[in-house]
């Protein structure tokens, strides 16, 4: 069965989730991946959205983070201060999903501004829940399209802290989550090096070469000795993924 690079990325992200985990889900790609996992191998995945919906089971994907379908199918809806203070901050979340306009070699993310803060080239939406997701979830998965302008040596603005400038920074800041343990792109998978914390290529998706990945990466990307190759999406994975409909989509 044919599939697009974006479908491969979504399937790879979904596979990383284990049944019974508690996942803090952002909109778009993360929501798609988490809802895919819930329909496949992880029926008891607990989805939490920052709008305050806990253990929600939407039939259709929400367009926004606070769609009615999230509240209607949730076990519980709490206030926005509560979702951050009582649920995200204390480290109750197993996996947080993030994306960004820029990612750097230490997995720091930028969703704030391209260029200077005071005189932006492009003004982006800003941080939302991302800084605390990056700080507090036990693990963070980053999901984003792999392009040279996005995979940069240093992000213009650190919206979400990955590993800062090296392996010791998170501990120095007192951040309690492990940080981004996996970056899943439409080309492959990057993981932080256990010693340096710099992102290295650990897997390429079917049909993708290391050279392609390097060409789309803005730093000298190291490749793992045990480079893997992602198993292509199964028919069932693709069927379910393609059946996911977004609320109100044409």
């Amino acid at each position: 069965m044919r599939f697009t690079p974006e479908e491969m990325m979504t399937v790879a992200a979904a596979r990383g989730l284990r049944d019974g985990q508690v996942v803090f889900v952002g909109i778009d790609l993360p929501s798609r991946a988490a809802n895919l996992a819930r329909r496949l191998h992880a029926p008891d995945l607990v989805l939490i959205y920052e709008s305050g919906t806990i253990d929600t089971r939407p039939d259709e994907l929400p367009l926004s983070i606070g769609d009615g379908v999230l509240a209607e199918t949730a076990l519980s809806v709490v206030s926005v201060p509560e979702i951050f203070n009582y649920w995200l901050q204390p480290g109750r979340i197993d996996v947080g999903f993030l994306s960004g306009a820029q990612l750097d070699r230490f997995a720091n993310l930028n969703t704030t501004v391209i260029g200077e803060y005071a005189e932006p080239d492009v003004r982006l939406p800003g941080s939302g829940g991302a800084p605390e997701i990056a700080a507090s979830c036990r693990e963070v998965f980053v999901v984003m399209r792999h392009r040279r302008r996005s995979f940069v040596d240093r992000v213009d603005f650190v919206t979400s802290f990955g590993y800062g400038t090296g392996p010791a920074d998170r501990a120095l800041l007192g951040l309690r989550g492990a940080g981004p343990v996996r970056v899943i792109t439409d080309l492959g998978v990057l993981e932080p090096h256990p010693v340096s914390a710099e992102l290295v290529l650990t897997a390429v998706h079917p049909g993708v070469t290391v050279e392609q990945v390097r060409a789309e990466t803005g730093w000298t990307l190291e490749v793992s000795d045990e480079l893997g190759r992602t198993i292509p999406p199964t028919e069932r994975e693709l069927d379910v993924l393609r059946s996911l409909r977004t609320v109100g989509s044409p």
């Binding site: 909109i27 778009d28 920052e50 709008s51 305050g52 919906t53 929400p62 367009l63 926004s64 983070i65 606070g66 769609d67 009615g68 999230l70 509240a71 209607e72 809806v77 206030s79 926005v80 201060p81 951050f84 203070n85 995200l88 901050q89 704030t112 803060y117 932006p120 003004r123 939406p125 800003g126 941080s127 939302g128 829940g129 991302a130 800084p131 605390e132 700080a135 507090s136 603005f157 650190v158 919206t159 979400s160 802290f161 800062g164 920074d169 998170r170 800041l173 007192g174 951040l175 977004t246 609320v247 109100g248 989509s249």
Partner: protein, 275 residues
């Protein structure tokens, strides 16, 4: 105790030029009708506060009502950018716009501190990121027991908070349910609170997940059916996702936006007598 008034009257009395104004509602129950009435009454120099500016602040800012925006995520959710806000920030059109930006958790906790009558709130926050260096409302506090350093955020106390709710009774007790966001904190933090509601009822039947705002923390209630559209009111109407998608086209271009604004200013406020 809350007064029951028209929307025009409420905005006229409660929202003044130069005020710090929070229109809250997290995706759900966004007080669009009240925002449009603020545009119609041509308020100026407002400091606008909202976690997610959304279309409503793109509109208010495009209309020239604001000089400052305090926010934590400024996009058109699931669709794209808010071009009127971008235009104001990066090119000063129609007026220069100062910004003060936070993470969601930090801005939510600024309201929490305001609601609790405290000068600040403590959280783990955006430590390590570049955010704190750009806002004076974020600082550091040391735990007197463990010595640990934590983020402190300054209390936010709007001059007026505006929210939309499903129902109020005739004494002005307000009831809302579904995703309740930061509305309770935003109302409790404010000096004055204006609530628009889908309907006035004789009695508030209890609803699961309800948030109740008692009449003694509400300044005015205006009955404005449909007052949250194109966002939604749980149990009343759904989000108009098409309108959100269409906004891209309107927002992107100054002239298209100006035409939209003309139409708005010609229209009567919803829920007005005689309509």
């Amino acid at each position: 105790m809350a007064k029951i008034v028209s929307l025009r009257e409420a905005v006229g009395e409660l929202v003044h030029d130069g005020d710090t104004v929070a229109l809250e509602g997290f995706t759900h129950l966004i007080p669009f009708a009240a925002g449009h009435e603020i545009i119609r009454q041509q308020r100026r120099e407002l400091t606008l506060v909202r976690m997610t500016p959304d279309l409503i602040y793109d509109q208010l800012i495009g209309a020239g009502c604001a000089r400052k925006l305090i926010f934590s995520w400024g996009g058109n959710p699931g669709v794209g950018a808010l071009y009127r806000i971008r235009d104001a920030i990066t090119r000063g059109w129609p007026a220069p716009l100062a910004i003060e930006e936070h993470s969601h958790a930090e801005l939510a906790n600024r309201y929490v501190a305001g609601a609790a009558g405290l000068p600040f709130a403590v959280l783990r926050g955006s430590a390590g990121t570049d955010l704190p260096m750009h806002t004076p409302a974020v600082s550091i506090v040391r735990c007197p027991f463990t010595g640990e350093e934590l983020t402190a955020v300054a209390a936010l106390t709007p001059d007026v908070t505006v929210v939309h709710a499903q129902r109020a009774d005739r004494e002005g007790n307000v009831q809302l349910w579904g995703i309740s966001g930061v509305q309770k904190e935003a109302v409790l933090a404010a000096r004055r609170a204006l609530v628009t509601v889908e309907e006035l009822v004789d009695e508030l039947e209890p609803v699961a997940g309800e948030v109740v705002l008692p009449r003694f923390v509400v300044t005015a209630v205006a009955e404005v059916p449909g007052g949250a559209a194109p966002s939604y009111a749980h149990g009343y109407y759904a989000r108009d996702n098409t309108a959100y998608r269409d906004w891209q086209r309107i927002s992107r271009d100054r002239e298209t936006f100006a035409a939209w604004l003309d139409e708005l200013q010609k229209a009567e406020a919803v829920g007005e007598p005689g309509e």
